[in-house]
């Protein structure tokens, strides 16, 4: 084992140690400042499940695209946005209970944006596929978007439940759906193949995670979409 001569010698108490203390002090200050920024920024999050649940009904047309995805907004809107989303992903939940409300108000309800929901359940979320099925089963009864909102607003109540189906049935009842038809849809796996196909399509265009937003074939994260929609509207 060899130590370099100048390091192996006695370290003068003043100089090298003082330099070291300055360096470690600076690292500590930068690190603490970074942590404080993160804490403050997180506190400003506008995500609010109650805001999502208590808003008036969406004032925009809804339906299914030709390739089987649910949309909201005017079909002839100048900009189309596709959200690749996983009902169990906390960031999708934060988006749905926060920024999505503004997007609905400012773009979807004003006819500027067609908003399409692509399922992209991630393998690490065991309840993402059952939740996607619940949303589509509600969609069979014209309630995809109300169920979408309810699932995201209550995400932390069902995400860790090993058998979330009974909770989903209670949500269907809350939305005044036919619970027999809904339960039958859920247990028969009526939409499982469609969801698997949606997941595959997301994989083909290399969606890196959820939520990812696609506008004009380009991928963006939640922070960017407002700016990108505004830019696309100016074209």
């Amino acid at each position: 084992m060899s130590t370099r001569p100048q390091r192996g010698r006695a370290i003068q108490k003043s100089n090298p140690l003082r330099t070291f203390y300055i360096i470690i002090g600076v690292v500590a200050i930068i690190g603490i400042a970074a942590l404080a920024t993160i804490a403050l920024r997180s506190g400003q999050s506008t995500a609010s499940p109650s805001a999502l649940l208590n808003r008036p009904p969406l004032n925009a047309p809804t339906g299914r695209t030709a390739d089987g995805y649910y949309y909201k907004g005017q079909l002839n809107a100048p900009v189309t946005l596709a959200e690749y989303s996983d009902f169990e992903c906390p960031f999708c939940g934060a988006f749905a209970t926060g920024l999505e409300l503004m997007i609905d108000r400012d773009y979807v309800e004003t006819g500027k944006l067609l908003y399409v929901f692509h399922d992209f359940p991630l393998q690490q979320h065991p309840n993402a596929v059952p939740a996607a099925e619940a949303a589509r089963c509600a969609g069979d009864q014209n309630a995809f978007w109300p169920m979408h909102d309810l699932l995201f607003a209550t995400q932390d109540q069902w995400a860790n439940n090993r058998q979330p189906q009974s909770q989903f049935v209670s949500y269907a009842q809350q939305l005044k759906l036919d619970s027999g038809t809904f339960t039958q849809c859920l247990t028969s796996g009526k939409h499982t193949a469609e969801i698997a196909k949606a997941q595959q399509e997301g994989g083909q265009i290399q969606i890196p995670g959820t939520p990812t937003f696609v506008i004009d074939g380009k991928q963006y994260n939640a922070d960017q979409i407002r700016r990108v929609i505004d830019a696309a509207l100016k074209k």
């Binding site: 942590l35 993160i38 999708c92 690490q124 995670g209």
Partner: protein, 153 residues
């Protein structure tokens, strides 16, 4: 005055500080829910790992254990720059012992992520590497102390 290289102890202190910040970040994430992140990456990440049942040990969040451990390592490493012993015990021994516990704990956590949860958390991996780095420095320091004792005996 200590008559040998303080480099391993300085390096251990810097790594312990970085580990403390890392564990502090994970604790914030634990306390506040999602923080800076925007996306659930394919294959999981810190949210999956930290929301798993393995993110607490005997009711204490692992991130908090990390903060405590790194804080202790940092204090020890800083003390070791001007002292060789506290309360009659060699600091180099204490540092190596604590770092060894940290490495073993990190090893266990890494196994949980890969083998049980099936998701890797970036900042947890960074923490494991920092622990390994601190352990390496502590071992080096211990050898320097031994060599010195052997030389002066």
């Amino acid at each position: 005055m200590i008559e040998r290289s303080l480099y391993p102890r300085m390096a251990a202190a810097v790594l312990a500080l970085l580990g403390l910040l890392d564990a502090g970040y994970l604790s914030l994430e634990r306390l506040l829910g999602d923080t800076g992140g925007l996306v659930c990456p394919i294959g999981g990440g810190c949210v999956t790992v930290q929301s798993s049942t393995y993110a607490t040990l005997l009711g204490v969040p692992v991130a908090f254990i990390g903060v405590t451990g790194y804080a202790a390592l940092l204090v020890l490493a800083l003390l070791s720059l001007s002292n060789d012993r506290i309360a009659g015990v060699r600091i180099s021994t204490l540092l190596l012992a604590l770092a060894s516990v940290g490495v073993l704990f990190s090893l266990y956590l890494s196994y949980l992520q890969v083998g049980v949860i099936g998701a890797l958390c970036y900042w947890c991996v960074v923490s494991a590497l920092l622990e390994l780095g601190i352990w390496g420095r502590a071992l080096l320091d211990r050898r320097l102390v031994r060599a010195e004792r052997g030389g002066s005996a």
